[in-house]
């Protein structure tokens, strides 16, 4: 295997006992736990040899059950049997508006949504932690002791709130979390190390509830993520739901009860899976009121009713390629991850876009957990036979709010982490002593369209003229993806700092919408930006003119004063409108009108300086 061997003999850690490290793929539909044993990553199966755990938690009469035991009860006890909890992580009830797939008794609480169950009100974090606890126990039984470190995977396109919720769930389950790892990256590690792959690879990850695309460069044992994109609300679940809707329509059924809905969703999923291998499949069920369902679904029909879901995955791929400045033909291989990629229509679409059949020599269900186990093994400090390094990126841009409600991007999306970036800002008003710093996440130009992450203030800036202060704001994202923002006024050394721990993040819908809009409304944004910039400029000139007139109004004659007043009024009038070109002209007109005044003020300043009197002693 052509992998890098660079460990310095004297730099190696002291010999010690092997630590118990595990990788967990916490999926929407299924979860897995894996470890590295004798240098080989393996999935840890249950007592019956089953590698997958259905991501289902049931709060039953006699306690909590998970996995297959919970799955058996999902149709008979839908309110207390929680499936797809991952889709609720870090989400509020408002975020789920219109999504009637969930038969739960939702409780609207601030921040994250909660579910009323027999065992009390549960948050998605608690539900996920029950699942993670079962996986931890399985691993402990298999490895013979407490876990020293775990890597838990998340969709690459998960935002801060979703990541934080996942981390909380793992901690709640008693897992020492080494890191959250992006799912497609985990898959790339497992695939790349197994196949000694070199070159540009794409990982197409269509899971139960999320879609990710990552473009990586694999070279000499370094896995470099070049770009990532995705849709945090698109997955195999949506295909099931399409089939479910088709059943309702084809069998002319009235809106089903919660338990009938769950029954039909299970039938829909089975039918979808059947059609991967067969051209048609029977859907037979008996509803709670005895209504029989007896239908035949063909692969052609399935392909037809899910065509736009498949199409929805292609746009993020194009964006990721664009961000990586690559063409589809530059990609050497496409790795498929997630059970939903077994569908022939998905494979066909991927093959068509990349002009080559995707790589299928690995199990799309297991590859993420295996990659996580390999990473966990390294991070826990176990000696690797293979030397490799992962360089991952920030999925969404990070920036600051500037004048006029605009976003100044400081760390653009797809920046390799760890990253430290600094940008200089200045004060807007004379004598301004504080500056509000508002940290945002997103791709749009206006703050209102991005997600707010944190706010803090830099206070105690010494009095200076507008524009004289030099405030250096530094963004630092570490290898774990945690953001730290600090601000410092350079001439005085006044400093402030915040570690960003958002209480809630972007919603699924918001992410998809924000990204779509950032492309669709690029032109609107440009106009909005131009207008906001002119407005800021207008405020600046008006402020400067007023203070100049207040200080040295005697330097202009009546004619000049009238011209300035007229120009001021015109700027004020257009400042309220939305025509940036007219406002720009008015700004320029005001600038011209104040030129004689500015020149004479300059002279007066020089005169004062020559007579040795301090300018500020005269100006008030």
């Amino acid at each position: 295997m052509a992998l890098l061997q660079i460990a310095e003999p004297d730099a190696s850690p002291a010999p010690h006992a092997r630590k118990r490290a595990i990788g967990i793929d916490l999926g929407t539909t299924n979860s897995l736990v894996a470890t590295v044993r004798h240098g080989l990553a393996v999935v840890l199966p249950d007592a019956e040899g089953r590698p997958l755990v259905p991501s289902i938690v049931r709060y039953g009469e006699n306690g909590v059950v998970t996995g297959y035991a919970a799955m058996a009860k999902q149709a008979s006890d839908p309110h207390n049997t929680i499936v797809s909890a991952k889709r609720l992580m870090g989400r509020g009830l408002a975020d789920l508006d219109g999504d009637r797939r969930f038969p739960y008794r939702f409780v609207d609480t601030p921040g994250m949504v909660r579910i009323g169950t027999r065992a009390g009100v549960k948050s998605p974090v608690e539900v996920s932690s029950d699942l993670l606890r079962a996986l931890r126990e399985r691993a402990e039984a298999s490895l013979g002791g407490a876990i020293d470190g775990a890597v838990v995977t998340v969709p690459a396109y998960f935002d801060e709130a979703q990541r934080q919720a996942t981390k909380d769930a793992a901690r709640l389950a008693g897992l020492p979390v080494l890191r959250l790892l992006n799912e497609p990256t985990a898959a790339a590690i497992a695939y790349g190390l197994d196949n000694a792959a070199e070159g540009i690879y794409a990982v197409y990850d269509l899971g139960g509830g999320t879609f990710d695309i990552s473009i990586l460069r694999l070279a000499k044992g370094v896995f470099e993520v070049l770009a990532t994109n995705g849709d945090t609300a698109l997955g195999g679940d949506d295909f099931d739901h399409r089939v479910f809707c088709w059943i309702i329509e084809a069998a002319h059924l009235p809106p089903p009860s919660a338990s009938d809905a769950r029954l039909l969703l299970v039938k829909a999923r089975t039918a979808k899976e059947q059609l991967t291998l067969h051209d048609e499949t029977a859907i037979v069920a008996s509803l709670s009121d005895g209504t029989p369902v007896d239908l035949v679904l063909t692969r052609t029909t399935l392909t037809g009713i899910t065509a736009n879901l498949v199409a929805k995955t292609l746009q993020p791929i194009k964006r990721a390629l664009r961000d990586a400045k690559l063409a589809a033909t530059d990609v050497k291989g496409v790795v498929l991850v997630g059970g939903a990629t077994r569908m022939p229509q998905v494979r066909r679409a991927v093959a068509e876009l990349f002009g080559q059949p995707p790589l299928t020599n690995l199990d799309p269900d297991e590859v993420v957990a295996l990659g996580a186990a390999i990473q966990a093994n390294k991070l826990v400090g176990n000696r690797d036979d293979e030397d490799w390094l992962l360089l991952d990126v920030t999925p969404l841009s990070l920036g600051l709010e500037t004048m006029g409600g605009l976003v100044e991007k400081v760390v653009p999306r797809n920046s390799t982490i760890p990253v430290a970036r600094a940008q200089e800002f200045t004060t807007f008003k004379d004598g301004q002593s504080a500056m509000a710093i508002h940290v945002v996440q997103g791709e749009r130009e206006k703050v209102a369209d991005c997600r707010s992450l944190a706010r803090f203030e830099l206070r105690g800036i010494p009095p200076m003229a507008a524009g004289a202060a030099r405030i250096r704001v530094t963004f630092a994202v570490d290898a774990d993806g945690l953001l730290d923002v600090s601000a410092r006024e350079e001439t005085s050394g006044v400093a402030a700092h915040v570690s960003v721990k958002p209480s809630y993040g972007l919603t699924d819908g918001e992410i998809a919408r924000m990204l779509q809009e950032s492309f669709a409304h690029a032109a609107d944004d440009m106009r909005a930006r131009a207008l906001a910039e002119e407005q800021v400029e207008a405020d600046r000139i008006v402020e400067a003119t007023r203070s100049a007139l207040a200080a040295d109004g005697d330097l202009v004659d009546a004619d000049e004063r009238a011209r300035i007043d007229a120009a001021l009024a015109e700027v004020a009038r257009l400042r309220a409108g939305d025509d940036h070109t007219a406002l720009r002209a008015a700004n320029a007109q005001l600038n011209r009108a104040t030129e004689p005044l500015a020149a004479r003020r300059m002279d007066r300043g020089v005169q004062r300086a020559l007579t040795g009197r301090r300018v500020d002693a005269l100006s008030d």
Binding site: E8, A11, P13, L389, S415, A476
Partner: protein, 191 residues
């Protein structure tokens, strides 16, 4: 302390980069505009493999912090050298020339008129959904970018180069790269 292209290996065996090096020296590359991209990529990967915090998972908190700073510094240096525009700006900066000075945004009038006409044509094509016209404008912008890069390599990589005199060209390059990017975005939006 042994030293290999910007990396110092301390007595304890811990590796860290030399923060006093400029970006070129960090990667062991000559200070030139025309660089060997493959050599840059290889040096970046080799150095990251040394200093990245994940390579020091068992190290002390202080060493982890140094690893993180070193790794971030490499990412910054790599970003500054990887694209020709960033590299030109950095090269000028090394010679105390600020190419993209906000107080001095002067561009050649002919150049500016040509680009404004292009932008207008792009807006019209974008509204009309004319992808072919946008592609043509994009290709033209990229061709001009390539010409400017050739000219910059000639101007900057000769003995006694006039770095200050290269400012207008770097500014034009910045303008064109931005134009090409927005044309690309317009094409993608119509796709």
């Amino acid at each position: 302390m042994a030293r290999v292209h910007g990396v110092a290996i301390t007595r304890s065996g811990f590796t860290m980069i030399d923060f006093t090096h400029n970006h070129f020296a960090l990667f062991g590359l000559p200070e030139r505009f025309a660089i060997d991209a493959a050599a840059l990529d290889a040096a970046y990967r080799r150095l990251q493999s040394e200093v990245h915090p994940d390579r020091h998972a068992g190290a002390s908190a202080a060493e982890q912090r140094v690893a993180s700073q070193s790794s971030a510094r490499l990412n910054e240096a790599y970003a500054a050298l990887r694209t020709p525009l960033a590299r030109a700006q950095y090269l000028l900066q090394l010679h105390a020339v600020d190419a993209i000075d906000e107080r001095d945004t002067q561009l050649d009038v002919d150049f500016l008129e040509r680009q404004l006409a292009r932008r207008e044509a792009a807006d019209v094509a974008s509204v009309a959904g004319d992808v072919a016209a946008l592609e043509a404008l994009h290709a033209a912008a990229l061709a001009e970018v390539a010409d400017l890069e050739t000219a910059l390599a000639r101007d900057l990589d000769r003995a006694g180069a006039d770095f200050s005199g290269a400012k207008p060209r770097v500014r034009e390059l910045a303008f064109l790269v931005r134009l090409a990017d927005s044309l690309d975005a317009m094409i993608a939006a119509l796709d």
